[in-house]
């Protein structure tokens, strides 16, 4: 039917135009004659066609040809000016765009690195010590972080596979199997590899260039050859002269339990830590001061955390302390096993490791002259320690000198030599360096310690913010817990309160750092200095005065402070600092029991506090 319609329409079209044959035309004429309506339509269509044909014709614009000529000329010019088509491989394609974007990113990163390396960094430095000691710093904070990360990754895997105790024993066995200390490390030893990496970090080399060192070199973005420097090469360092670290001093009648609690917290929070007790035990071993040292301390000294061996190897410079500082109180010469230069290998990491620095056989294996020399050195060092302690105590009694004494104590603590210890006393039961802790973690750690079943716990949290002691941006927090008050050691056993609750019930106070211009006000209420204020004080001079004023006041923790502390969750970009945790025995502490005296609730066993911050802590809340 459709085809019929199409055919009829085609025939009607021809009919209108007179193209039909006469017989076809006659046929249609007959049909139209029979149907006037159809005939009228055909008539209209014919008339309509005539109307179309009669439409006036339009002439092209006069300038059409000119315009066309101009267009052709423009095209010719463009064709001539058009660049020669590049080969396909060189044309602009999607890969060229990607390469361009990559080039921009690379340029930005490179510029950032340049700026970062040129401008002074605001990051907390790893070294602990005043700015006046420029020659003893690690090579690069970035390299240190990279090495620490690398070590942490490796050691965390090891730690997951074996308990820390076993790990430490394993390390000692491996070191022992390696033989004498003067035997060079062999290639491929993972421990040495870690040491190599750490030394590369610090700009020194133990000739261990294992895979991890290479990995570190990759991570640090440096060639391995440049990252691993020679042993004699002087470490080069740059920025970061302002000390920025925390020091937590834990004085407890059960230092072993306290240390265990600390280690548990650090491990649970994946915090890289290293037991620096080796330095102290090493000193004790060399100087004979280890008499009476708790066995737990010696045992703990062999234990390390996730960065086992790294920090100890890092501290393996004979003239460097673990933090690149010179050893304090002259206690460094006896253990300088590698070189004749004075200096302490204070943070040897493990006892076994420390022994490696001595001549084969240790002091016993040395010749008569060496033994006599060592004995003389011991006597001299003991005298120095006693002198230093006496001097420090005297100075600490003067309020104006308190900050300076505190600074000196921090340095000595950083060097692993507590100034409060006298001859014949263990310098510290345990010294732990926790790396890159957030402020909240440090506060949480104190909470853990408060919840721990540790008797006679007294904690001092010290964070110097000043570039010098005179600037008095030292805030110290004493967290004293009267574990023996009334109910004995089990008073807080089983308590699992939140940190805020714990802090609320403990005496928390800030003391002025002994600023010469603003001695601590004994009765003035104080507030916890927020971390933001602490950070700002490090850079803003105006805030420093305010901080000093705040630090000179004292009070309990307010709910707002607790909220602030509780909300200080570690976040990307949050400042992290190293924290030196010193565990000391309350029985041997020489510090006055200031905190215990200040407690409103009477404490039979008064936890001692450092002598440098002698302002008694009180707890108005009690």
């Amino acid at each position: 039917m459709t085809e019929d319609v199409e055919h009829i329409y085609a025939k009607l079209c021809d009919y209108l135009e007179g193209r039909l044959q006469p017989e076809e035309r006659a046929e249609i004429d007959a049909l139209l004659a029979a149907d006037p309506q159809h005939a009228a339509i055909m008539t209209e269509l014919a008339a309509q066609r005539q109307m179309l044909r009669r439409l006036p014709r339009e002439q092209a614009p006069a300038d059409l040809v000119d315009e066309l000529r101009s267009q052709l000329e423009r095209q010719a010019i463009l064709d001539d000016a058009a660049p020669v088509p590049l080969p396909r491989g060189l044309g602009i394609g999607r890969w060229s765009g990607v390469l361009a974007a990559a080039a921009v990113v690379a340029a930005a990163v490179g510029l950032g690195l340049i700026v970062y390396s040129v401008l002074p960094s605001g990051r907390p430095m790893i070294t602990i010590g005043p700015a006046a000691l420029p020659d003893h710093r690690i090579e690069s904070a970035e390299a240190a972080d990279a090495a620490s990360d690398a070590l942490a990754q490796v050691d965390m895997k090891k730690a997951a596979a074996a308990p820390a105790e076993e790990s430490g024993a394993h390390l000692r066995e491996r070191f022992a199997a390696k033989g004498a200390a003067d035997k060079p490390f062999s290639r491929g030893d993972p421990v040495q590899a870690r040491g190599g990496a750490a030394h590369a970090d610090l700009g020194v080399d133990n000739k261990g260039d294992g895979a991890l060192a290479a990995a570190f070199a990759d991570r640090a973005g440096k060639p391995g050859a440049s990252a691993v420097q020679s042993e004699q090469a002087a470490p080069v360092h740059q920025h970061q002269t302002t000390p920025s670290y925390y020091m937590v001093e834990v004085v407890a009648s059960e230092p072993s339990a306290a240390g265990e609690r600390i280690v548990q917290y650090l491990t649970a929070n994946s915090i890289t830590w290293v037991d620096q007790s080796g330095g102290t035990s090493q000193i004790a071993q060399a100087t004979g001061l280890h008499e009476g040292e708790p066995a737990s301390a010696r045992k703990d000294s062999a234990r390390t955390g996730s960065a086992v061996g790294a920090e100890s190897q890092r501290a393996g410079q004979d003239d460097k302390t673990p933090f690149g500082l010179p050893s304090a109180n002259g206690l460094s010469t006896a253990v300088a096993g590698k070189t004749d230069q004075p200096g302490s290998r204070l943070s040897g990491g493990t006892d076994q490791e420390a022994r490696q620095t001595l001549p084969p056989g240790g002091l016993a294996g040395a010749g008569p002259e060496a033994r006599r020399g060592a004995a003389a050195q011991k006597e001299k060092q003991a005298a120095d320690v006693a002198l230093a302690n006496r001097s420090e105590k005297r100075e600490a009694e003067i309020p104006e000198n308190a900050a300076r004494v505190l600074q000196a104590r921090q340095q000595t603590f950083a060097a692993g030599v507590p100034s409060a210890a006298g001859p014949g006393q263990p310098v510290a039961d345990r010294v732990i360096l926790a790396r890159n802790m957030t402020e909240r973690q440090i506060v949480e750690l104190t909470g853990e310690m408060l919840r721990a079943d540790v008797r006679n716990l007294n904690m001092n949290i010290v964070r110097p913010q000043a570039e010098s002691a005179q600037q008095a941006q030292v805030a110290q927090t004493d967290v004293a817990r009267d574990s023996a008050a009334g109910s004995g050691p089990g008073q807080v056993q089983g308590q699992r309160r939140r940190l805020t609750d714990a802090l609320d019930e403990q005496a928390v106070s800030f003391r002025g750092g002994g600023a010469a211009t603003s001695p601590p006000a004994a009765a003035a209420p104080a507030r916890i200095v927020p971390a933001e204020t602490m950070r700002a004080a490090a850079t803003a001079p105006a805030d420093r005065a305010e901080l000093a004023q705040q630090a000179g006041q004292r009070s309990t923790v307010t709910p707002a402070d607790r909220d602030m502390l509780a909300q200080q969750a570690p976040a990307p970009g949050e400042s992290r600092v190293d924290c030196l945790i010193i565990v000391r025995s309350a029985a041997v502490s020489q510090e006055p029991p200031a905190a215990a005296e200040s407690r409103a609730v009477g404490a039979p066993a008064a936890p001692p506090t450092p002598p440098a911050t002698t302002a008694p802590a009180t707890n108005p809340a009690r």
Partner: protein, 226 residues
């Protein structure tokens, strides 16, 4: 080229009405060989016819001008594509119609313009007033009709153009090429690429559609006519 012999305008091109397709094809062959002057002669020969067809298609002189110019420009670019299967004008008209239909589909609107409205249209092409006046004069001379009949013719043309502008583009193209331009079926089939049978049936449908558009006018005309 018999259809051209019916042209109702005086030949203004170098090609006379007697020039056949052979001459036009020869000129295009020369243009293909690089003789720009030959192509220029073809432009001069076809510009009015092409422009007229386009202006009836798009209903706008300026657009018709642009399309006509673009048609010649593309024709020059595609000279190698001409194989002589159709006449040069058919070849160019195919380009023009494709451009016009694309333009109409793109703007999706129907345009008509008054035959005498060029002077009143703001922004008209240069010389539109003169063209309109000349066209009117030429028509007047040709027809030699009286004032009343001239007025009626004007109204009729406007109605036809308006109805043509309301048609579908394909129907419009058929009517323009067949009834206005006078192309034969084969030429139209070459331009639109349709079989002859289909072309005829569609042409008849186009006429029916135009009749529907002119129905009101035709009814009034019949009432008022003699």
């Amino acid at each position: 080229m018999s259809s051209l012999s019916d042209a109702q305008y005086p030949p203004q091109t170098p090609l006379t009405a007697a020039d056949d397709d052979r001459q036009q094809i020869e000129m295009l062959r020369r243009a293909q060989q690089g003789d720009r002057a030959a192509y220029g002669r073809l432009v001069l020969a076809f510009q009015d016819r092409l422009y007229n067809a386009v202006v009836r298609m798009v209903g706008d002189r300026e657009e018709a001008r642009e399309i006509t110019q673009e048609t010649f420009f593309r024709g020059l670019q595609k000279l190698d594509g001409f194989r002589g299967e159709a006449g040069p004008y058919t070849w160019l008209l195919r380009i023009a119609m494709n451009l016009a239909i694309s333009r109409l589909r793109k703007v999706h609107r129907h345009r008509t313009f008054s035959l005498y409205g060029a002077g009143r249209d703001a922004g008209g092409a240069r010389g539109e007033d003169d063209q309109a006046a000349a066209l009117c004069q030429r028509i007047a001379d040709k027809t030699a009709i009286g004032p009343a009949e001239d007025l009626e013719r004007r109204e009729q043309n406007e109605q036809v153009l308006a109805a043509l502008g309301r048609l579908d583009a394909e129907y419009r193209a058929l009517l323009v090429m067949r009834d206005i331009e006078g192309l034969d079926y084969q030429q139209i089939a070459d331009v639109l690429g349709l079989p002859l049978g289909t072309l005829k049936s569609r042409l008849f449908r186009a006429r029916l559609a135009l009749r529907d558009e002119l129905a009101a006018y035709m009814a009034g005309d019949r009432k008022t006519g003699p």
